[in-house]
Every structure is written in structure tokens, then in C-alpha cells.
Symmetry: C2
């Protein structure tokens, strides 16, 4: 109903009806227009049009503080406009240079309770806005935020790819429904997520991507610092989303802030097509520039690890049998096993080896809400940390130190300094952290302000120590890796691990992640499982398996961008497929350029990237459960250069479930504008390396 009206609307008519008090700002290319105005009651409202069609109708803006209502009764006090067009260098990324080009409208409103600033930045790829909470005369004041009320009142019943508003987890399978049908209850049933808290089924988390008749948008936030994560309440009838903040313990307030305070940016990426979402760098642009002066120690890398063994039950994190309190005989993090992984990883050119279960505490780490479990310093007796660290450094494949907190975060805070000291003493400079479980301090949530500050504190402290961070189960990212490029990657979504022991990730899962979760930053998805069905490690009735073909696992190294890419399977499984493993050995993890060759959310995506500083390209193409064929034109290659192309393709009868490990490798020489046809099996993928001769 609403959408039909919108179709008939012309943008110019709408501008005129917005009244005297409206301020207009457009994107540099003029495609996006934002009008900010005041309602009769003095409420701040904004509207967005894309290509002369209304996209977001009058939507309110405001912040409710304890004892200070900054939502109505406003008069406009001050306006500033600004335009920026600059290019900045990334320490690492999908491209080496990023253009930051926007028009800014900065407004200050005043009511009888106080002042509220609202800053809009309009890019060609979307809109960002943030609040500035100010005090009279620039005074410093401690204030409590009760709620932030930012509306996104959409004009049509778009199709959303969404997860429910879980205050503790982003590890849900994505649901695909119209806004009118969003209901978190059904997405809660699957039951494989250890820690979840979903008090409101009519609410979603961000990033949420929405597809309309002629537009794709993604709602999220940028630069989440000293503030809780924003989730969105859903009005199914009016297609409207309204922000709410995850509370601090006790629920009665959402954030403690000190004025002047800038909230994170609320972001609306806007594009005609799905590919445009992947090209957007708006979230990065809305983050602060890099704060680390000397960045040479920050190195994108591929790594292996003692990790998937435990997920399959081949070995264990814990050292003791809990019943007998004697060694259980299947501990994974032993000296011998670690050396085996180092040897294999080093021989094949990897940059690091992760070892989980190296430190004491795993016997009762899980689900007990205990505060003191891990000290991040005491190895099990069969793990000689100094000797293994020395060996791994000699082999140019240093250990990545695992810091699973079990969500006992007060304990992690306490032990962080000695744990980092121990790492530096042993020459190690990368951690994988983990936050499995309900948060301690009890009553806090993964997405609340206390935890946001914790995640950021760890990243900043790690930067002081020159340590790289890969965080699992933190809040979903918001582009902070621009500011802190030692924050290499995080999980914050349903990773490959779920294929090991749950109903798993449906074949469409990896075709949704780039358009949702990955908009905020790299994901450590842990691809590269070759032993897709792993029956030998499970009982006879096991139906768990990876829900892709082997080639799709290869293609994920391109389609799931991360400067940190694991080859997650065991050395012995790679040894059976060394021809296919060659792609993982070759593929780069840092890039000069990235091109989206095709994209349809939840269906397929094909990306090609140019290795940083080299004339080599790597292509990944993946599909959901439907087989597909694509005709590709290699117009991105450099004129006059010959490339050796190796194609890693699904076998003729490959199928993610019936025949996942069938693949064909072919090789030939190609040059610019050559055409190549690729075929993807059901749940399949294709990986291509293009090495300049």
C-alpha cells in the first residue's frame, strides 16, 4: 500500500512540501538527497531520496538522556556545511587506496533541556549520520543515555536478509523475508547457539540488508566506540525500523557518556544493485584514520591451526578426563602435534599456527558462568610454550596464541598484561580471542557498552604491544580496523565451525555474509575444509558435514574477504589433495584492487582481486544450492601481460551433499578481455588464479 504511493511521488514535489525549515544536502553525484526538517512539535526528522524516488520517509531523530529529553521541542540553532574529497592509504584491505568523498551537513538543535548536534555525511554510496551530545559552554558532563531514537521509515515492503536481535550472538542462520514478515521466533528454534538472548522477536540486529524494487540498502553503524551496539525494532505494518541500544547491566540505562560525545555513525548504504553494496567503503570512511604510527609489524597472513580436530572430536581442548582427573590421552595441543602443524604450515608458506587448548582450564570452561577459569599463561604439561614458540619462529610460522575467555571478561582484563608480557617474551605477536558464554560481569551482554569498551581496550593494548588481534564472539565489526589495523579480523557471525557439529550453514549462507556481516569488517570464517563429510571422526549416524563443495571452500578465500585466512583442515587431509591445496598456497591475503563481477544476495557472488604490489589476480565465485554457469570477461587484466590461469572447478557431477569433493583443475594462458565460462555445482564454487608470467 505504502509502496504504491511512493512510486507516484516525485522528489521535487516532496521537497516543496517539506516546509520552510528544511535543509537539503545531496551526495557528490547528486543521486542521493537528504532533507532534514523539524516537525510541528519540534522533533528532528529526515528523509532520503535515491535517484529522485523517496527511499526513507519522514523519520525521527533524537536521544533520551536521564533527566534530559532530547527528542522534541527543538529549534535549529546552527548549520554548517562542508565537502571532502580525499584518498587515503589502507594498511591492508580489499583495495590499497580508498576515496573519501562526501558532502556534510552539521546541525545543532536546542530545546529547553539542552543541545543536540546531528551530522549528516552524504556519499555517493550512502548516508551516515551521528549525534553530538553537547553541554552548555562546552562543559564536561557525565550523562546517562536512556535510549537513542533513530528511525528508518522505509517506503516499501523490502525483502530483508536478517538475524534476530540477539544481545549475545551473531551466529544465527540468516532469514530472508519481507519486512512485514520479520519475526525472530522462527530463527531461534535451531538451537545450536550456546549463548543467546532474544527478548524481542520483532527486532533485528545489524547489518541488515534490504532489497527493494530498484534499490538495495544496508542499515548498520560505523565507529562503535564507548557506546552500546544499536539494534532495530521492526514495525511490520509500516516497514519502519527504530533504533534501540543494548543496555548495561540492570537494564535501566544504555550508556554512560561524557560530553561532548559523538555517537557512532548510523549508516545507510544505498545502491542500485547488490554489487554496489560490496564496493561501498562508506563504513571505513566514517571511521577515524589509523592511530598506529608504525604499522610494518601488521602482516596479513594465511594460517593453520590445531582447532578443527577438536570440533570433529578427533582430539580435545582439555588435557584431563573430568571423571578420573587423569590425562585423557587425546589432548590436541601437544608438543608433537604442534610441531607437526608447524612443519606442514611452514613448508607450504603459511604465516602462523594457531594452537587451541594449550593452556589450563578447559576441563570446566564451558557453560558454568565461572569467573576464574583461564589465566592465559599456564600451559598444560605436554605443551612446552617457550620451545614451541622458538621452533615456530625459526620456521617463520609463529604461534598464534589462543585467548579463550569463556566470557569471564573480568578475569581476562586482570590477566591481560602478564599474558601479553609472556607472548612478547616468547617473540609472538598474534592472538585469537574468544568470548563463548554469558558475560562476566554478570548481567552484561556481548553487545553492551561495557563489552564494547572491553573489545576496544584489548585492541588498543594489543597495539601498544604490537600484537595482532583476531576476536571470536565479539560484537559485530563497524569498520574500526581502519583506526586500529592490528584488529585483523573477527568472527561475529556463523562460521564454518557450525558445519562440524550442528545442522550447519545452508549453502546460501556464504552468499549472504558478504552483503551483511562483512560490510562491517573482515571475518575469520575459517574456510578450506577438504574432508567435507568427515564420517571417520563421527559415529555412524552422523549427518553433519560441510555444506559446500571442495571448490567452494577454495573460492571462499576470495569471496569472504579477510587479511587473516585460515586453512582450517588437517595437514593429512590436504596431503590427499595437494593439487587443489595449491590454490590455498598461492592465494594472496592483501589486495590492490577488488572487482565484483556479479552478485545476487543469497544466490551467488563472483569477485576478483589483484594481489597487492603484484600483477597477479585471484577469482572466487560461489553459488547457493542452485548450479550456475557464468560467462566472465577478463577486462580487469593488464594490457600486454600474459597470465597463467589455473581453474579449480567443481567436477561434472559435483554436488555439495552427494559428491562434494569432485573437482577438476585445468590450466592455460590468458590475457586481457579473454572470455572464460565457469560452472558451479549445487552448493559449489570456482576458484581461479591468474599469475603474471
Amino acid at each position: 500500500m505504502k509502496s504504491i504511493v511512493a512510486v507516484a511521488f516525485l522528489f521535487c514535489t516532496w521537497i516543496l512540501s517539506a516546509g520552510e525549515l528544511s535543509e537539503v544536502v545531496t551526495s557528490p553525484n547528486g543521486n542521493i538527497k537528504v532533507v532534514v526538517s523539524l516537525s510541528k512539535k519540534g522533533k528532528i526528522q529526515y528523509e532520503v531520496a535515491f535517484k529522485n524516488k523517496k527511499l526513507i520517509g519522514k523519520s525521527k531523530l533524537g536521544v533520551l538522556l536521564e533527566n534530559r529529553d532530547l527528542t522534541e521541542g527543538f529549534l535549529l540553532e546552527n548549520i554548517k556545511r562542508n565537502s571532502v574529497d580525499e584518498v587515503w592509504d589502507q594498511v591492508w584491505g580489499e583495495e590499497s587506496k580508498v576515496r573519501n568523498h562526501y558532502n556534510e551537513l552539521a546541525l545543532v538543535f536546542k530545546n529547553n533541556k539542552g543541545q543536540l548536534g546531528v551530522i549528516f555525511r552524504i556519499f555517493d554510496d550512502g548516508v551516515g549520520f551521528r549525534y553530538q551530545i553537547l553541554s552548555e559552554n562546552g562543559k564536561t558532563e557525565d550523562l546517562l543515555v536512556k535510549e537513542e531514537i533513530s528511525e528508518f521509515d522505509l517506503e516499501e515492503d523490502m525483502v530483508g536478509f536478517w538475524q534476530p536481535s540477539d544481545w549475545d550472538s551473531n551466529e544465527h542462520v540468516y532469514e530472508t523475508t519481507k519486512i512485514s514478515k520479520i519475526d525472530g521466533f522462527k530463527s531461534v528454534r535451531e538451537g545450536s547457539i550456546h549463548t543467546q538472548f532474544i527478548p524481542d522477536f520483532r527486532a533485528v540486529q545489524t547489518p541488515i540488508v534490504l532489497v527493494g524494487k530498484k534499490v538495495h540498502i544496508a542499515l548498520h553503524e560505523a565507529a562503535l566506540v564507548d557506546y552500546p551496539a544499536m539494534h532495530l525494532k521492526v514495525d511490520n505494518e509500516n516497514f519502519k525500523f527504530t533504533s534501540f541500544l543494548i543496555p548495561n547491566a540492570g537494564l535501566w540505562q544504555k550508556a554512560k557518556i561524557t560530553t561532548p560525545f559523538n555517537t557512532p555513525w548510523r549508516t545507510i548504504i544505498i545502491s542500485e544493485d547488490a554489487a554496489g553494496l560490496l564496493r561501498s567503503r562508506m563504513i571505513l570512511n566514517l571511521n577515524e584514520p589509523c592511530k598506529i604510527k608504525e604499522t610494518s609489524w601488521i602482516k596479513p597472513m594465511k594460517y593453520m591451526g590445531i582447532w578443527w580436530e577438536m570440533h570433529l572430536g578427533k582430539s580435545s581442548w582439555e588435557y584431563l578426563d573430568k571423571n578420573t582427573m587423569k590425562p585423557n590421552g587425546k589432548h590436541g595441543a601437544t608438543n608433537a602435534n604442534t610441531r607437526r602443524y608447524i612443519d606442514f604450515a611452514s613448508k607450504n608458506g603459511f604465516g602462523g599456527v594457531l594452537v587451541e587448548g594449550w593452556n589450563t582450564g578447559w576441563e570446566d570452561w564451558f557453560g558454568l558462568w565461572k569467573e576464574e577459569i583461564f589465566d592465559f599463561q599456564t600451559p598444560y604439561p605436554d605443551y612446552d610454550l617457550p620451545a614451541l614458540a622458538k621452533y615456530s619462529i625459526e620456521k617463520k610460522c609463529p604461534l598464534i596464541v589462543h585467548h579463550e575467555t569463556s566470557a569471564a571478561v573480568t578475569a581476562y582484563e586482570k590477566y591481560l598484561t602478564p599474558a601479553f608480557d609472556l607472548m612478547k617474551k616468547n617473540g609472538l605477536n598474534a592472538i585469537k580471542s574468544g568470548y563463548v558464554g554469558r558475560i562476566i560481569p554478570k548481567g552484561e551482554w556481548h553487545d553492551g557498552q561495557w563489552m564494547i569498551n572491553h573489545y576496544n581496550r584489548v585492541i588498543e593494548k594489543a597495539a601498544e604491544y604490537k600484537i595482532m588481534v583476531d576476536a571470536h564472539e565479539p560484537v559485530r565489526p563497524t569498520g574500526l580496523h581502519r583506526t586500529w589495523p592490528n584488529f585483523m579480523a573477527c568472527e561475529a557471525a556463523r562460521g564454518n565451525e557450525f558445519n562440524g557439529w550442528s545442522s550447519g550453514n545452508p549453502p546460501e549462507h556464504e552468499t549472504i555474509l558478504p552483503f551483511t556481516r562483512l560490510l562491517g569488517g573482515p571475518m575469520d570464517y575459517t574456510p578450506g575444509i577438504f574432508n567435507i563429510q568427515f564420517k571417520e571422526y563421527k559415529d555412524k549416524n552422523n549427518t553433519n558435514q560441510v555444506h559446500t563443495t571442495l571448490c567452494k571452500q577454495l573460492a571462499l578465500y576470495i569471496t569472504m574477504y579477510s587479511p587473516l585466512q585460515m586453512a582450517a583442515d588437517f595437514p593429512e587431509h590436504y596431503e590427499k589433495h595437494m593439487d587443489a591445496f595449491q590454490f590455498i598456497k598461492d592465494v594472496a591475503v592483501d589486495w590492490d584492487e577488488s572487482k565484483i563481477l556479479n552478485a545476487s544476495i543469497g544466490n551467488y557472488v563472483t569477485i576478483v582481486r589483484k594481489e597487492k604490489g603484484k600483477e597477479n589476480w585471484f577469482l572466487g565465485s560461489i553459488t547457493d544450492e542452485f548450479p550456475r554457469e557464468f560467462d566472465l570477461t577478463f577486462d580487469f587484466l593488464k594490457e600486454g601481460v600474459n597470465y597463467q590461469m589455473v581453474v579449480y572447478a567443481d567436477g561434472k557431477n559435483a554436488h555439495w551433499k552427494e559428491n562434494p569433493t569432485s573437482y577438476e583443475i585445468s590450466s592455460r594462458s590468458v590475457k586481457k578481455n579473454d572470455k572464460v565460462k565457469i560452472k558451479l555445482a549445487s552448493g559449489g564454487g570456482c576458484a581461479i588464479s591468474l599469475i603474471s608470467k
Copy 2:
């Protein structure tokens, strides 16, 4: 609608329709009948009839554990019946001997998840039931309670006297509405409560008292140990209440328990009239017998204190001016002022003197959610604790030590042992504790399991130290003073203090408290304010005042039962009215017998009590805003004894607002069956002492 049907129902018909699986149990006098049955889906349900009329229709019972649904699919496994009739002695109380007389029905149900016991005890004055959470073979198991689902499905739209379901406070003005009109929103507006958390307006706390056409009932609980407080969701349409438990931090579970576990008793006091509610000892009977072997050190007493001074702004709790950080010159707890109070209290026969603001920390104690404020050991420099303690003991009026925690309960736990050691070193044996503010550990609530365990831990530890406890702002009491008689009193309701600085307590307030809050245990209401309008301590526009006459303040010593009664006003104010003060000097605080002479909830109540071990009686009668006259017959006096009666009556033109301090004192001799007429002014009261000659 529903109530009309109920009227036509006869109990015998109803019994027959309850089906084969029903078990019936009645009160000793046969007036109350309970039928327990299983629904078609195997849900446990019970019904209650009073005097052959259905009072509570089929109401479900069950407990939902994490991973164990104990709400349906049940079969009856075991039945036991038992009857008890015994009399036990109270250490102190409204009467010295209590009769415990009930019929018990103990049922064990089993479903495919586990076992659940339900025990009913039917007294002449009501019904109690509790759950037993059991494990196979009597094993010890740690379990998490997600919810307890106990329904109270009432047959008519009774009039309730209620407070909203506040997880942090019981300090609301009572609302009086039919069940169909219960809506917590309006009771939240008043705004004088510092810490409140009311997430659901369609919910109430207990005790809630409900008045029907021919019955009065009160819903509450007894023996709240190692479990959260129970609140009640309200179904306005069906007049049904359903239990819910206040959660632990994080909200996802309500209690951690170890099997076998007995929940608190859910209590339904039932009476034809309001007076019957006051005569009920069911909640005491459902608590465990006294666990303290030697109780001679536990002494009911009247006390005075440096306390009201601060509420009126005459002096301050804090020693320093926060701006200058120099002494503020108006600190209340000085050596001189404390001696002044001790001298006056001692001279007039009081048993103790409370001094608030004696210890460091008050400069920033309030509303900051700080963990470290008080250590309960360090006096301000103008307070010589050892000398004052010695002086007070010499004067037989020992100091009552104030332990305000500011709700930073982790800190109080830490300092409790040295604080108690310090008290014993100085010969002191009573504390007043306080829990103003949001709880630390952050995310916990005053009514959650963590805090319940804290309150009880303090009482038990105090018992080890032979210390008496008067707790302010704890959970509302549930009869635990039977088990721990050193737990003398608590606040847990809106006390007299609100008259000092807020819109205050309406004149009806004290005519509701005995039928609600006081059903669970004594309240330290702090009566005895003679200087009703205290304009001299406030600015000119002050409209705050105590909302009673002076005589009503006297009558409260009887109508608001407590073994600990404060005379809350300043010595200099009592010195102006030594004739009226005589009643406070004379009145007892421990009793052999108590008689309810009349009672109407929210309107008036008249009680007379016999001093323990003496042939003296004290009578109190109070009214709401309406003046009243009562004709009393002194049939309770002992045959053949002459009593000197002193009547403290409101003056002819007394009025709580216009003329509150007008009173008349008269005296004459009386004997058994004499008749006396008393007149109560608007917001007034009458106090009578009857001293045997």
C-alpha cells in the same frame, strides 16, 4: 461476568466435576477445601473453596528448569497425608504462643523429564503450597530455574490493595483498584523513589490483599530462602495472577538451586473479614523453627536516633562540604549530639540510640553506583566511636550501628567481618543496615536470588556474633524472623521518612500496611513524629509534613507491630510535649496477646495488645482522612483487676493537615467489660494505656 457464574456455583457440584484424579484436602475446621488434579495434558492444577464457595478456579502449578520442563505430561506417583496441631513459643511477637494447626497433602508427580513434589498445607486461616524439586535416586544436582508458574485464578473481580512489580523497591504508595483495573503505570509517576525498576505495568508485588464480596485474601510467600522473590503477573480480563521470579543478572535464569530443593511457600491467607488477616499466623507457621539456641541477648526495644535531623536538613550525614572539602559545620553524628541523644533516651528508658552518618563515605554515597564507598569501620573525626559506645552502654542505651551499603553489596560482604568485630570489641549488638541504590554486583536486583542470599547471610552471620538486625530497603519479609529472631525488623515499604521530603504518605497509608506489608513481618516504620509540620527546618514554600495527627503517631506504636520501635523525633520536640511523650515511654514492644477490635483495609484499624509478662494493655486506633468514632468494650481485660487508663485523643478540632498537634489527655480507672468511646480526627488516631494497679 466470571464472578456472576461463580456465585451460582456450589462446591459439591464442583468436586464431582473434578474427575477421578482429584485429591481433596481441607482445613482443620473444614472451611477451606483444596482439590488437586491433573489436566488432560498432565498439568498439575488446584482449586480452592472457602465456606463451600469457589474462591480460586483451576490454576496450574509447575516449574520450568533449564533443559527440564516440569509443567506438563505428569502422572501422580506418590501421595502422603499428615496432620499437625502444636503450639510453639515465640522469642518475641504479637503473641507469646502460636498454634500451628494444619492438614498436609504431599504429592509427587513424574513426567519424562523428572520429578516434582508439591506440598499443600491447609490451615484454618489459609493455604500454603511449595514445590520440591527432586532428582532421581535422591541425587544432588545443580539446576537452573527458568520460571515458576503458579497460578491464582480468582473467581471474582476483587478489590486489590497493591504496589506495582518493582524489582528494586517496595516504597510505593498503595493503589486501590479492582483486579481488572490494575495498571502499574500510574503508580510510577509520583517520582520520590530513588531506585525503581518496573518493566511490566501489568504485574504486582506481594503481599497483595484482595477483598471480595464475602472474603478477604492475601497472596504472598513464606520462608524465602535461596530463591528469588515471587511477583505476580496480572490477567486483567480473567482476574488471574501468575507467578514470576525476579531474575539473576543477565535475565536468562531466575535461580540456581541444588536438589533436593524446597521452594518458598506460596501463601493464600483467607478470612471472612479484614481482622482475620491480622490474626493469621500462617506465614510464621510455614517458616522453620528458631535456629538460634541461646536467645536471651535478643531484646525488643524502643530506640531513638540521629536520623530525622538529616531528613529535615537540620544536620547532614556527611562531614565535608563537597565543594570546599572542608567540614561543612552541620554534621549530625558528632560526639556532643550523640551524647545529647543518649542522655535523653537513657533518661526516658529507651534501649538504644541509632547514629547515622558516623562513618566516612557519605560525601558521595548517593546514586553514583560506586562499589567502594563505605568500610563500616572508619568514623568521621568528630565521632569517637569507642568513647561513645562505652558511654552509651553505661547509660543502658547502647549505640545501634548504622551500616548503609549504598547497595554496593560486594563491598559490604567484604567488610562485614571486620565491621562486626569492631562492634563486638566495643560491646555493641545491633545494626541498622540500608540498601539505597542500584545493586552492585551490577545487574542484580533487590528482589533477586543473589540479594536474597545476601540478606539471609548477614542475618545468619549476625546471629553468630549475637547481633540484632534492622534492615532497610531489603526484600519484603516472609516470616523468617521465626527462624532467625535476631532479624528484628525491616523497612521494605514506604516509611514515615517519605513525609519528610516527598509528597508523603496519604492518611490511608498506615491503614493499609498492616494488611499487606506487615503480614510478612515487623516493619521499622519510625513513628513518633510530634513536630508534624517542621516549617522551621524548610524554606517558606515547604508543604511537606507528616500526614497524621500527633495522636495517630502514638497509635502507630500499636497498629504497626514491631519489636523495634523508634521514637523518631528530636529530643527538643519531645520536651515540648512530655505529657504525650509519656505514652511512648510507657508502651511495650513485646506481647502476650493481641486483639483486633475492628478493621477495614484502607479505612481504619484498632488493636489492643497485652504487654508480655505483665497485666498491662496498650491500645491503638487509627483512621484515614475520615474522622471516626468507635465504641469499644474492654472485654479483653482480666476479671477483678483495676487498670489506670490514660487516653491520648485527638483534640476537638484536630485535623492531620489543619491542626495536627491538637490533643487531649484524660485518665480514669477501668475494669473488664467497661465501655469507652473514642473519637479520631481526620487523619487521626487514639492511643490508650491500661496499666494494672
